[in-house]
Symmetry: D3
Subunit: 62 residues, 6 copies
């Protein structure tokens, strides 16, 4: 531990996911004072037809 | 906020997801006394081979 | 199933939680076409010193 | 309830998921002293390009 | 990994939580064919005034 | 969105949580190319008697 879960709209590249994993790990390791190899990162893609705000799915936002 | 996550067996239509998003948002906005545009809804489809009750996966229920 | 999780800022009354549980259950039961007694609702209180937007914890928002 | 969620790297067989569901249910039912038919199990497959430890995605581990 | 989360009504003893952690770990390790020291277990207590089924909070069930 | 959840052992200071919230938001905003005010951060404290690895609760680790 710590365990970091990043939920974001689908569509980011593998390269962005690699950067998120590496840099969020470095940051959390530094602030929480734990070795990097004990930090877990999970990335979840949110589909536009499965989430939304203000009563509308993202897919239906103009 | 608030954030509402609805996990349900896969198979519902996009129309049902639209209705859930709109009507759950309206209800939570009213009861929690927050504007609708601050209410998030997330819908997760549960696959029948990945969840179950009483020791059986849904896929194996007769 | 379905399973509904409602995460919201701490401070709502037990009465509001009762209304949310009853009315969200009725709505989801109707739209998803399942009996009410198969609908689960979970309510999670978010502490103001443990979540935030735009880089600030809610506790630090003026 | 209880509700058990098992998150693991993708690739396990349906047979392994069946065994996990049956045997974890039996164990939790016994220890928590609740009937098996009130125990829910959820299995989530983690994709190798979407999680990792020590700053690296599993897909990039040698 | 794997990561197992057990959500259950509050009230279980520390001893029950110890048994759950040890025995669920052994079982998952065996079925998923991973060493025990790579299996994580998380136990979450559900408060009776914060979850329910069929439109009623557990606290209000007779 | 994006939504970032950080689960870590209880005991970090409010100041650490403030730094995590501010700096993780800045990092994710930059990599995901979204404005900072659309990034949500949630911090969850894990109690030592409620999680563990290798079959032991953290509270029981020597």
């Amino acid at each position: 531990m710590p365990f970091i879960t990043i939920e974001m709209k689908e569509g980011r590249t593998l390269e962005q996911k690699r950067r998120l994993t590496a840099e969020v790990t470095r940051l959390v390791s530094e602030i929480c004072e734990v070795p990097e190899d004990r930090v877990w990162v999970f990335i979840e893609d949110l589909k536009s037809d499965s989430f939304g705000k203000g009563g509308k799915l993202v897919i239906d936002e103009n």
